[in-house]
Symmetry: C2
């Protein structure tokens, strides 16, 4: 993409109404726009990152054999009030509902999660043990009426969430899937570039079960405290159920969670006949990841005083060409790299070299190719790695290989 | 995909609470689920169709040079009330808002369109004529508090909309883009399979301009009346501004619309300095398509008493293998076709042949390969085209060529 055709711009000064590092950097670099506290828009660069993260998660969900669906945000009151005897409609029990009204009467909610509607929907499809097991997931916009909304895109009032739900005949079958889901989650955090700093963390199971597991990534921007119990296995325990004696204390952000729900949301309606013909309730689990929270976490962790530093797998573009003094050569390299399947942003704007360097470091595309005077005399490209600052001279083929890994 | 792993099922009986043909067929075939009147979930087959349609629209938007973004649903009251002197916050002026409340006070709206927030957002990026022209688009969930919600997925209270907004220095530059957008829209409707029945229709410009253009597709399920003024050029006029003397009267559904907004949403805030240094307001246009409405229209038009008949370009799968009496051969064909880049649904369920035939016709994947006894003796595959009912014997290579066109 030619940067001259990208309507968004960088800004030198931080926005005045932001305290979180991720939002400040992402706004300055032109990735997001703030609509109001806790509500952001994704500009082209930001949307590309979100879509890369979504692509990785989708990949791993499909590898798990889960099927993708898309449910509504609008929620019927009755379903949450009575259907599963949970009464999560009640504001005293769930304190972050956004509610609204139908014009022809009747109250609706904006879904903050989907256990109730998905269990209800599945009643029509599940009747026998032969219909199980399966798992479904979606990338769907959740609404949560947060009072704290000071963590940039790590905690917002409206966000795309990947929610996965599993349906098994019993606890042991569930446990098998749960372990597979854990492995999928590990792969996801590794692939987006957070593997090193992410700990599988034993946490409270809430009202559903004794324990759940969170994936916690170390960052001072996190709202959680964890104790690292095994550095090698990357295991930890959340402060809510652990104590100082359990290990090293760290601040961390919950980038994913997996829950055993049991039959809380299948009792009494979602049931099947087992092999002996006896009615049983489906055994459920739920598994969440917020792509924008991963993006915010990456911005917190992978950045320096010059700006962002995206890992190749989630970068908005893999390569940034800075055309300084030889536009036709830059254009030529741009076309060749795109033909090689590399995603390239070409800075073809009429700006001073210093401004282009500063913008490129702020935006944080992992590789920069600087096309200046020197480039005219040689087949070697001057390639700077954003994260390390190292500069190398590479042929076009070497560069393609470096990026594609 | 193996059909045995697809949790959704077909049903023989129509749902009792639906009157629209598209919803009845799509529910029976397991493409969608009804949450409440005017609110539907997309099951795996339905989501695949929606994503195919979105892919085609995105393709054409990118070819136009438009940049993709994603804005929030939650809307600040102030922006709609005062910012552009439109006061579209007022329920007396806009009668389909869903509104909600922040926990810490303050009313919010759920966006039914995005002219106000996008103009507001762009103020930070536009200051000179050099920043123009550009266009941005999104696939974003809109909310509309409809009282009429009886047209299945053709008119719903919550739906993904592709909204494109264009920004130009003046009316003549705008007009040039507007004509290009018209051509993009024509391509989109041709590619999804609605080209033959879709008419570019002169309509009222509402409060924005004298005229707008709608893309109207002929169907008895449509809520509009148009008069066809030129059959060859596929031109028509909407009854709201036309009369019987203009041409042949038809019922039609508005599958897309394009609007000249002028400076209604840029005045007074979104402005730029022209070449002479004089301040001007940006000249805007907006352009909408609802992917689910296209899907519903396809279901209305391309169906018979046996079920749906998807065009290849938007079908959930391109090919349906019905494994009747030779599972290992079916499996073999399945793998070979997938290796050739064909999207295949393999009916590997333990059901009678008659049920598989009926389900395949209901689901409406364009090509069916029947793997029965006969298939054992020959290298030729028995291929049925769903739309025509014609059966041919083809080699695997011939089949791949037929599908890929």
């Amino acid at each position: 993409m030619r940067q001259s055709t990208l309507f968004s711009k960088t800004r030198r000064e931080p926005p005045q109404d932001e305290v979180s590092k991720n939002a400040i950097l992402l706004i300055r670099a032109g990735f997001i726009n703030k609509e109001m506290a806790g509500v952001y828009d994704f500009l082209p660069l930001g949307l590309r990152v979100i879509n890369k993260i979504i692509g990785i998660i989708r990949d791993e969900m499909n590898a798990l054999g889960a099927r993708e669906i898309l449910m509504s945000s609008l929620q019927r009151k009755e379903l949450w009030e009575k259907h599963f005897n949970q009464d999560r409609w009640d504001d005293a029990k769930v304190d972050n509902w956004f509610k609204t009204k139908l014009k022809d009467g009747g109250e609706l909610g904006l879904g903050f999660t989907h256990e109730e509607p998905i269990s209800n929907m599945l009643e029509q499809f599940v009747s026998s043990y032969k219909d199980l097991p399966f798992a479904v997931y979606q990338f769907q916009t959740k609404f949560r009426n947060e009072t704290r909304a000071k963590s940039g895109i790590m905690r917002t009032r409206e966000f795309i969430m990947k929610d996965l739900y599993s349906f098994n005949i019993d606890e042991s079958a569930h446990q098998e899937f749960y372990e597979k889901a854990k492995e999928s989650y590990k792969k996801i955090f590794e692939r987006v570039g957070l593997g090193d700093k992410t700990y599988i963390t034993k946490a409270s199971g809430g009202t559903f079960s004794e324990f759940s597991h969170e994936f916690q990534t170390l960052t001072s921007a996190g709202e959680d405290i964890i104790y690292i119990t095994d550095e090698e296995k990357k295991e930890a325990i959340n402060k809510e159920i652990g104590g100082e004696s359990d290990g090293r204390e760290e601040k961390a952000v919950e980038v994913g969670n997996i829950f055993t729900l049991g039959t809380k949301f299948s009792d009494p309606h979602l049931k099947f006949k087992d092999e002996s013909g006896k009615e049983q309730h489906v055994f459920m689990g739920s598994y969440g990841i917020g792509p924008a929270r991963l993006m915010g976490t990456l911005a917190e962790i992978m950045s320096d005083d010059k700006g962002l530093m995206w890992p190749v797998a989630v970068a908005p573009f893999q390569l940034h060409i800075l055309s300084l003094e030889n536009d036709s050569m830059a254009e030529d390299i741009y076309k060749k790299l795109e033909a090689n399947g590399i995603e390239v942003l070409l800075d073809d704007r009429d700006l001073r070299a210093g401004e282009k360097f500063a913008d490129a470091d702020l935006i944080g595309i992992p590789y920069q190719v600087i096309v200046g005077k020197k480039s005219q005399d040689s087949d070697l490209l001057e390639v700077k790695e954003r994260a390390t600052g190292e500069t190398k001279e590479l042929t076009l083929d070497q560069l393609v290989k470096t990026i594609k890994g």
